[in-house]
């Protein structure tokens, strides 16, 4: 009836009638039934998010998507993937598609998720990965970010830089590793293979990794951790080895998750533009929902160096191996 048009701001209703209808609707405390809207082929004005809520980075991203959505008058519902969840995403998408107009997928650690996503009949945008998937992908330029990190350390005078790698299943981790190796070669830094250790993007992995670096015959003077949580773990291991950050060892992370700024010393890191990412994801998705072709197959956002307290010049006695300086005590 006319009421539907009025409530949905659609043309073809006289101003008086519209005002009257809205008044009555308000009096009645009318709330649109989104499920019914969707069932009858319309739009529910709800977007779905599929995410693994295990990391701070993901939670913050979800929060950002929520705000961005709300700003566009869209509600958000989250489907939380459990860590051990190996079920195919098909049924989940089926469930969501009954309610939401489109889905933003923050890719989980387990890859191969994309394959089954591809034949969904719902607008989808992915965040943080999915190189060869048939829908738009929002990501930070991880390669460029890692370059910034190494350049920062090199500019401070570090030549022997350790690297705590991330989860190899993730493209983001691979890009950061690639940049590390490239920059190391390019800048002529110490290429000792022992300086590269495995991590898993989590605190504990960072701790173990840094422990190994600290036990090296000649430990690095700086460490680049592939994400902030690893860096926080690394910080504990460095302290445990009776060294201090940044006096003895400089430490830089990646993400700029909120803890980075609350840890002590505050962590120097590469900021992923979370707000921009969530906004870009929402905008792209809404465009697709409106039938507009996605603006770009891949949106690459620029990371940024946030210099805080955990990086400094290396200790003087290690500054260089130039003859004549070696052995200086201070």
């Amino acid at each position: 009836m006319t009421a539907s048009r009025a409530v949905n701001n659609q043309p073809g209703v006289s101003d008086e009638k519209r005002a009257e209808i809205l008044r009555i609707a308000d009096d009645l405390g009318y709330v649109a039934n989104r499920a019914a809207q969707r069932l009858s082929g319309g739009r529910s004005h709800v977007i779905g998010v599929i995410a693994q809520l295990h990391t701070l980075f993901t939670s913050e991203l979800v929060l950002g998507i929520g705000s961005a959505g709300r700003a566009a008058n869209y509600e958000m519902l989250v489907y939380s993937l459990s860590d051990a969840d190996n079920r195919p995403p098909g049924p989940i998408l089926d469930l969501l598609s009954q309610i939401v107009d489109g889905v933003i997928v923050i890719l989980p650690f387990q890859s191969d998720y994309l394959a089954s996503l591809s034949n969904a009949k719902l607008p989808i945008v992915t965040i943080d990965e999915g190189n060869d998937a048939p829908f738009p992908k929002i990501m930070t330029d991880n390669y460029q970010g890692a370059r910034l990190a190494i350049e920062h350390l090199a500019a401070l005078g570090h030549r022997r830089i350790g690297f705590i790698a991330g989860n190899e299943g993730l493209a983001s981790a691979r890009d950061r590793a690639r940049a590390f190796h490239d920059m190391r070669a390019q800048l002529g830094l110490d290429a000792d293979p022992e300086l590269v250790v495995h991590g898993n993007f989590m605190q504990q992995g960072g701790f173990l990794a840094a422990q190994r670096l600290m036990r090296l015959a000649e430990p690095p003077t700086a460490i680049f951790a592939a994400n902030d949580m690893s860096a926080v773990g690394a910080m504990a291991a460095i302290r445990e080895s009776k060294r201090s950050v940044p006096q003895d060892i400089s430490l830089i992370g990646f993400d700029d998750v909120s803890v980075a700024n609350h840890v002590h010393p505050a962590l120097t890191t590469i900021r992923q533009p979370l707000t921009q990412m969530s906004r870009a994801a929402v905008n792209t998705l809404l465009a697709m929902i409106s039938g507009i072709a996605p603006p770009a197959e891949r949106i690459l956002l620029s990371p940024e160096l946030v210099a805080r307290e955990s990086t400094a010049a290396p200790p003087l006695e290690k500054l260089s191996q130039k003859p004549g300086r070696k052995g200086m005590t201070r």
Copy 2:
């Protein structure tokens, strides 16, 4: 038609017909439309969760609810409250009620949330607060937990114990504070009011609070932080003051969030039985959905002391002020 009965395991279908229907359904890749189920007055087998995803504790609880739900063949959808969200919960519940069979609310920092929740026409269970709300509440015995913490410290020999309080708007924080004061009096511990400092359940608040404690003319030999995140912040402040945990200062937290075990030294803490809590919440909710009256208006779960590395006996020279011992150097 008969198909509905067959799919829903309802009586009144011959075994052959049922088998045939299920086979065909499977062939067709049939997936029930939950929205339609709900629209027509049935059950969607989806539960909703309203939560603020800002703290690790909340995220872990949500994950737990998801598993518990899945175990009972229920899916879960999360509505994420943004931190600055002051909108009344009414519309959110309206939205959710179109999709889910019941809602678990993890109460956000802003209180007064309950009032508007009360006239919902949907089964609701709250976690962690809501003393005088008209629905079941699941919570840990915070008072008892805080008692365990103080008793642990006292048993190690501490007499001068600092307390980093939590967000006063939360009943859980108030209960823990109350227990601290009661136990202090009961055990005859040092009652210096300067030993109690404000916190906000977050890392940064804990850091600031511990800083104040460390600057006291006579700092405490042990600190009880009202939650783990505060404790992690406090640990940084203690270190910054050139003291070490637990040699100089013992530290105990509350929650047993996953980082507690990954921090170094690993944090002694009071464990909230997260799995039990989420299971209890889900079970209670499912019972209500089935029309069974909730088993209890309030389910109180028992916390548990998890002794790790951050607590120890106080330094010998501070052990007591008994004449004749004072001034001992070791």
